[in-house]
């Protein structure tokens, strides 16, 4: 998370300098780097969540309540499994839709997105 954050700062600083010099849109290697770094903010976000959730164990409220004491006594294991499967299915579907729409926007390119009329440049 921290490593990726540092990479983002460096990459954005490089891109900002190039943009200021008005050569960003002609520097193909940097544009490739920017496009390929698309997944990394998501990985950094998830890594951050894992750090807080795993790092806090065995506490659910740090220093006050253990996770075992916080578990619902009257929610059956089967109900939990059912909802975990449901959330996995829901987010899998969302993930597929997200990839499809993002790849379509990339495929259209900056001109295509503008012509398409759904604000690809600002979204």
């Amino acid at each position: 998370m921290v490593g990726l954050g540092t990479v983002f700062v460096a990459l954005m600083a490089l891109a900002a300098v190039l943009l200021w010099r008005n050569v960003l849109f002609r520097t193909r290697p940097v544009l490739w780097l920017l496009m390929l770094s698309m997944p990394f903010p998501y990985i950094a976000n998830e890594a951050g969540w894992v750090t807080t959730e795993v790092g806090r164990q065995p506490w659910i409220v740090y220093g006050l309540m253990k996770t075992t004491a916080g578990a619902s006594a009257n929610v059956a294991a089967g109900e939990t499994i059912f909802t975990i499967i449901g959330f996995c299915g829901m987010y899998f579907m969302l993930g597929v839709l997200f990839l499809y729409l993002t790849l379509r926007e990339i495929g259209l390119g900056p001109d295509g997105a503008a012509a398409h009329g759904n604000g690809g440049a600002t979204a």
Binding site: S72, A73, N74, V75, E79, F82, T83, G86, M90, L94, L97, L101, N118
Partner: protein, 328 residues
Amino acid sequence: MSAAAFWLLALIITVYVLLDGYDLGIATITPLVARTPSERVASMRAIGPYWNANEVWLIAGGGALFALFPKAYASAFSGFYLPFIVALWLFMVRGIAMELRDHFASTIWRDFWDFSFSASSTVLILVFGVTIGNLLRGVPLDHDGYFTGTFGFLLNPFAGLVAILAVLALAAHGALFLTLRVEGPPAERARVLVVRLVPAIFVVYVVLTVAVFSTIALRSAPAARAILPFLAIVALGVELFAALGGKPWIAFGASCAFLVLLLFGAAVEMYPYLLPGFPERTMGLSVLEAGASPAALATALAVSIAGLCIVVAYAAYAARAMRAKISL
């Protein structure tokens, strides 16, 4: 202090039903009143600027329950685990359908999103209706105030009746909001739909009131029991005649009044219990048992009220900025 907290919570839930009620209701009636693609777009655009902000009131209700009555929050969220997760999924489907619909050109996808939008919203109203029905009827709780029943216990005929009333009343509420926001054929169809819905609401309301009076050990003052149903029926009458006479603002106001009377009646019967027990309501979780410490209550009350003022200011701004009617 705990009484003030109870009524603040009841107020938040009532405002949620009035506001998100028309979002959900419009979604329910869209297949009935919007026939062409552009009419369906207009129907969705009628709630476009508002639905997201309206759902804030539900989140505020959950947050206020957590801050004001932590024991009731713990009991409700673990006792109603499955229904609440299903409601969450329905909210997700509804939001996704509205956000993604316009990103697909294919009519099959659009029909799919439109169906998801209407179906998820209608089932959400049913889930809320079942929840309120069970809150009114009472649920089995153990000595620590935790729900001990099963998912099947929640699906009883009384709760089903409340759910049917909720779908009909919010469908009419949404239809009236549509007539206020959209011009053209869908608005006229929505008005006709209200005229047909109100008699059905009246019948279900009377049956439900008889069921409440005959099966639930009532706690409210006899005067309230006589006045509230009378006022509710007056509100329904005003809603019907205003819809017939083409006065949508008065009809929408009457619909708001009807919903407020329904929820106020339920809250009056529940107080001082947040979760009445079953079969004896006295075995329930009362505001005193479930309440946070006085200092926490005072802080939470002050913060909630300040936060809600900001939400009201935003909602007023949005309503003003978006007041122009949508034409097809």
